[in-house]
Amino acid sequence: MVGNARKSTSTFARAENPPVDLGLLRRILYSVFLLVMLLLLWEGLKAFSASNNYELQIGSATIDLSIFSDMQLPHLGDIARAFTEPAQRNGPPLYSTLIENAGYTLQSAVGGFLLGGFFGFLLAVLFAHSRLMQGGCLPYVVASQTVPLIAIAPMIVIWFSRAGNSALSIPVIAAYLTFFPVTIYTLRGLTSVPETALELMQSYAASQWEIFVKLRLPNALPQIFTALKISATASVVGAIIGELPSGFQNGLGVTILNFARYYNQSPPRLWATIAAAGLVGILFFLVIVLVERLIVRWQREDSD
């Protein structure tokens, strides 16, 4: 046993001090680096096009570079400044308008995320326990995602306003986008249980419920979180698309529509709103990552 003890200590020295923080730091530095490169590219292309009068001669061909003009692609500085300037005369600065509208959108997105997540999970459990259901219904679930959301959204708005519940239409539209990854990934997680892990349960004469709670569900958790991360960002997209035909006055989708209509007055406002929409999605994503870190704690750090 002496030899064994020595061997195990060395295994643990490696296991307990993994270079996690270094890896995380490196990843953060890397994404910051990529962002800086992207911003430099943005401004570099603009400067290059401006100095060539937005035209590039290659041999006899002329390439139009006007998409890099200030009208089409504003300076980053102008976009940043747009946040602090009022969108309407004597109104609040744009950032506070955006925060308020983002609040509405995020609310719908979270609603859609929960609704879609719950429904998607339920479908997966059903499919995991019935091959017949899976064979019969899964093709329709897949088909549902080939119909463009933008085509369905107006119908859902109409249905819910007829039912006198128009506030619900946006979360439902978002849910339409979020249930699908949850169903697919959860189903895979629930059914990809190793044969011997299942036989172990059978050797204890465990009930189906115990097998589900103590084996299938925890086995599926990493995949469920993969789905939830996709769903989190998709729910923000779904909420914004849902706002477009809703006729509501609030939300980032409505703001995007307004600023697009008056784009010529101030291009940076629309760009600032797009950036805000992206930020909301990233924020939601990061919340899920955090929850995942709290719950899925058993995995090797490098197996991410």
């Binding site: 046993m1 064994n4 295994t11 892990a197 036989e199 059978q202 050797s203 204890y204 004469a205 925890p218």
Partner: protein, 263 residues
Amino acid sequence: MSAVISIQNVTKMFRGSDGLLVHALDNINLNVEEGEFVSLIGPSGCGKSTLLRTIADLIQPTSGKITVNNKTAAQARKDREYGFVFQSSTLYDWRTVIKNVELPLEIMKWPKNKRDARAREMLGLVELSGFEDKYPWQLSGGMQQRVSIARALAFEPNILLMDEPFGALDEMTRERMNNELLRIWTAIPRMTVVFVTHSIAEAVYLSDHVVVLSPRPGRLATIIDINLPRPRGPETRDHEDYFRLTSQVRHALRSGVRDEVLE
């Protein structure tokens, strides 16, 4: 003496993925007495795992009968008579070492404090005290397998079924695990062990009887009684009978394979 496990005329056919029938077990008859250590040995594919799994009622024989303590195998499984150890440790990744050992106790509705105490006791038995809160990936292969033995023994099953539990370990670790297993088996009175292996040395060193199976279809070739004195230890491997018995098993294995070649 009463047979704890009685296998009568057991035959098992599988429908293979190509649709053809695989004759995995052919008319097996075997009795295992209470407290015995019995090994099943044979070339791979000869039906060792299949036989072990039919005893455990994880699969059902095509024909024939298995009784365990005068009950059907299915009833014995429901009565939690079996502890099963697989070749891969089959620990649940998301559970710590101690929670893995507690798994069967949770299913058998033990109260929390009793579960915890028993799991610690079992980890002590396999000499893994201090590793309670590690996750499986933090352990070496041998340690993982010891956890799975602790888990199999936690609810005091009458019968321990082991399917090549040390097959993936290196020779040194395997010999050490063999000694541990004998120590544990001795410590638990009247526990019957059925142990699948393809190592002749391991089978002879551990067992009271070595059951030699021959392949295609899986038949019981012969049973070799191992009358080496107990307790066994490193000196057992130098015992003159040890050499005689290992070569006897080797010959039985070879003749089983030769039959197949001639057929």
